[in-house]
């Protein structure tokens, strides 16, 4: 479904991706793991056309999409929940969802999808008219996901959806992701929450400074004991979780 080959992305003169190749097959939940600054967000931004790769190709359902405008890429069915959610803080919840469905031409379909979104998260229906920026972090994350789901994306890119959330909310978010996956959405998930991410993923890639270091299934990656400690940043994650529970 999605295939990156030798993708190199620059920020000015700084090379952020050094020839990344990866694949997401239809129906899979694939995760990209890696420490801060490894280039995870950059991969997702390159896929959605927010930044253009200098080299390499990206194909989505057989169609080449690198270098395309992001509105075209979204229209092909790639939804992207960006890092730190980035909902529109001064718009209402309803307006945020409306923007999520910006590409939907038929009004009825648009409102149908909105109803569906509210059925997913009844809390948001009560907050329909609330200014989105005044909601809690967890509610905002839910809104960000629902906003991306409005167009019924074939592929959903999720960039650290658990960032800054309390442990209970992290659990809820992961349950949601799992449900989405089970309902048939193909997902590319970026996470620092290694254990949880791998436990729901079909396949994982480990990224270090812009390069794919290794890839494999949950078991395969967990067996890479040393690599796991060194590159999955698990030690740091453990500390973080202790901070939360303490």
């Amino acid at each position: 479904m999605l295939k990156l080959v030798g993708v190199e992305t620059f920020y000015g003169k700084i090379k952020a991706l050094h020839g990344v190749s990866l694949e997401v097959k239809e129906g899979q939940l694939v995760t990209i793991l890696g420490a801060n600054g490894a280039g995870k967000t950059t991969i997702l931004k390159t896929i959605s056309g927010l930044v253009e790769p200098e080299h390499g190709t990206i194909h989505f359902n057989g169609q080449r999409i690198d270098g395309e405008d992001s509105e075209k890429i979204v229209a092909l069915g790639i939804g992207h929940v960006p890092e730190w959610r980035r909902i529109f803080p001064e718009l209402t919840v309803e307006e945020n969802l409306l923007m999520g469905g910006f590409l939907i031409k038929e009004k009825e379909l648009l409102y149908e999808r909105m109803e569906e979104a509210f059925r997913h998260f009844p809390i948001l229906e009560k907050r329909k008219k609330q200014i989105a920026g005044t909601m809690s972090g967890g509610e905002q994350q839910m809104l960000a996901i629902l906003r991306a789901l409005m167009i019924r994306p074939k592929l959903l890119l999720l960039d650290e959806p658990s960032l800054g959330l309390s442990p209970i909310l992290v659990r809820d978010i992961f349950t949601t992701i799992k449900d989405l996956h089970q309902s048939g959405v193909t997902i590319l998930l970026v996470e620092q929450n290694v254990n949880r991410a791998l436990s729901i993923a079909d396949y994982g890639y480990v990224l270090t400074t812009g390069k794919i270091l290794l890839s494999g299934t949950y078991e395969e990656l967990l067996n890479e004991e040393k690599v796991r400690e060194q590159y999955l940043g698990e030690g740091k994650y453990m500390r973080r979780s202790k901070l939360w529970s303490g």
Binding site: S70, E71, H80, M99, G133
Partner: protein
């Protein structure tokens, strides 16, 4: 005492009319600022160009048919709006798009150059002379219990209200209107929604040119002469916008109207009682501005940012 009251009332109404024009200038200016953080120093010149285009359309239609009919003014108005659409689109192409990856500051410098160029080009076409503006309402007035109001002022106020209602509807009820708001809040997230951000900026410049043109058409007959210095009135958009709270559309409108009223009253009644006010009339708005900012640093309608990150 009674005459003081009617005087003040009359000045308030005429000041409101003037203020509506300031409000429209500030509105066009705030639109661009909100969407792209570009401070458009050429807003006043856009207004001036609009006034000239309207003038030339109306006078040339009049030269054809002789009689200044309502139809002539209407076609002149429609023609000017069409011109504004093209002009706004063109400005987006030559100023906004080529500079989109440059710092906002470059775009701001470009608008300053634009303002100078526009003044030069207009005086090249129009000649150095000032022109006598035309108005469909002539000098007609209505008198209501001792208060004299010109039809022109009434038409200004009515048009401004209509325009603001139209804008409010567009920004809050239509998909593209909300998309403009979304883009101004977070252009990257807007792109991820499939919003063509480039087109949004184009749309904003077109809107801004339309409001500027309408304010020019409304303002011209209020001035005895039409010349390129009309563009300097665009600078009044700043105190108006700051007064209301920079970047707030409601604020820009309220700030503009306040300015018009303050200016008119201080030039009229106040200067009658305190003759020294005449000498500081040009800066009175700025004095009020500083006083208000001392009490409310975010302006009257300043919005506190709710963005968390």
């Amino acid at each position: 005492m009674d005459s003081l009251f009617t005087g003040l009332l009359q000045e308030s109404i005429s000041g409101t009319a003037l203020g509506c024009i300031y409000a429209l200038i500030a509105l066009g200016f705030t639109l661009i600022y909100k969407a792209s953080e570009v401070v458009n120093f050429a807003q006043g010149e856009l207004m001036m160009v609009g006034a000239y285009v309207n003038f030339f359309l109306v006078t040339s239609f009049m030269a054809e048919s002789g009689e200044p009919t309502g139809w002539i003014f209407l076609s002149g108005f429609i023609g000017s709006i069409l011109f504004a659409v093209l002009f706004g689109w063109f400005l987006d192409r030559i100023i906004n798009r080529p500079l989109k990856d440059e710092p906002v500051f470059s775009v701001i410098m470009a608008t300053i150059s634009l303002s100078i160029i526009l003044r030069a080009v207009v005086s090249m076409f129009a000649g150095p002379m000032s022109l006598i503006p035309v108005s469909p309402f002539g000098n007609q007035i209505v008198a209501v219990g001792g208060i004299v109001i010109s039809i022109l002022d009434i038409s200004i106020i009515v048009s401004a209200i209509l325009l603001v209602v139209l804008f409010y509807y567009f920004f809050h009820k239509t998909k593209w209107g909300i998309a403009i708001q979304a883009t101004s809040e977070d252009p990257v997230a807007a792109q991820l929604m499939g919003i063509a951000v480039k087109r949004v900026y184009g749309l904003v410049w077109i809107f801004s040119a339309i409001v500027a043109t309408i304010s020019g058409i409304l303002l011209a007959p209020r001035m005895s002469l039409l010349d390129t210095s009309m563009g300097f009135l665009g600078l009044k958009a700043f105190p108006a916008a700051v007064l209301g709270g920079f970047g707030s559309i409601t604020g820009a409108i309220a700030g503009g109207i306040m300015m018009g009223v303050i200016e008119t009253i201080s030039m009229g009644t106040l200067s009658f009682y305190f003759s020294w006010i005449k000498e500081i009339n040009d800066i009175i708005v700025w004095i009020v501005l500083i006083a208000i900012l001392m009490v409310k640093p975010d302006g009257l309608f300043g919005v506190e940012k709710v963005r968390k990150v």
